[in-house]
Point group: C2
Chain length 134, copies 2
């Protein structure tokens, strides 16, 4: 498949989403770090983590024992630079906490024959409930 083929970047994005959250929930989160580029940037709930080492520290230092992500939907677009923009939204449940809405954006880029994540922005939905709906 070629880059300009809509199916191609959709498939890369969908495979990434499936792999990422399966890895996050079911295996060693340390392995997630391998998919980030060396100079990648993660913004987690408004806090910036620059570089793979800082991202590794954040991902593996989270305090819960168990987590499960349920993906509601995702949007996938190609960019002008032949990267892929992925926006995911869904719900997560950590340990015995109530489920929380979240949304997360990834930028995937082909580097040295592999797709790597260069940008990751994560936010919980709990900041974003309209006052009149609460």
């Amino acid at each position: 498949m070629q880059w300009c083929d809509n199916d191609y970047f959709q498939k890369v994005g969908e495979d990434f989403v499936q792999w990422y959250y399966n890895q996050f929930d079911n295996t060693n989160r340390m392995e997630l770090v391998n998919l980030y580029a060396e100079g990648a940037t993660l913004t987690w709930e408004g806090t910036l983590f620059s570089g793979r080492e800082a991202i590794a520290g954040k991902l593996t230092g989270m305090p819960f024992q168990q987590i499960k992500h349920i993906i509601t939907d995702h949007d996938i677009q190609p960019t002008f630079d032949k990267s892929i923009l992925v926006m995911v939204f869904g719900q997560l449940k950590a340990d015995n906490d109530l489920p929380l809405a979240f949304h997360q954006v990834f930028m995937l880029k082909p580097l040295n024959g592999n797709w790597v994540c260069t940008n990751d922005v994560f936010r919980l939905g709990l900041h974003n409930i309209p006052v009149e709906s609460q």
Copy 2:
């Protein structure tokens, strides 16, 4: 300011957010189209609009008379390709409807001396309310 200066891309992103939603709410939405690159992509609630003409049709064809966006927060990151990734979340109120949460992602790229939007993904938060919280 240089590209590598954190303040620079933060300022470009913040200026864009302020300008975009002010323009959306208070002036002719048709003018928004000028900030999109010719081959830009918009995904609006899961539906893809490719190119400036399609985006213009979507933005100006929305059925409400009045709209107001209230921005809760935004996250801004530089990308490897010297573009800027902006994730915005907040609430919007159209006409007399109840306010709704939304989140929106923009990719901004410098083209011919101007910052233009190459990617835009918009989602309302109403799909994403955890069942146990409803």
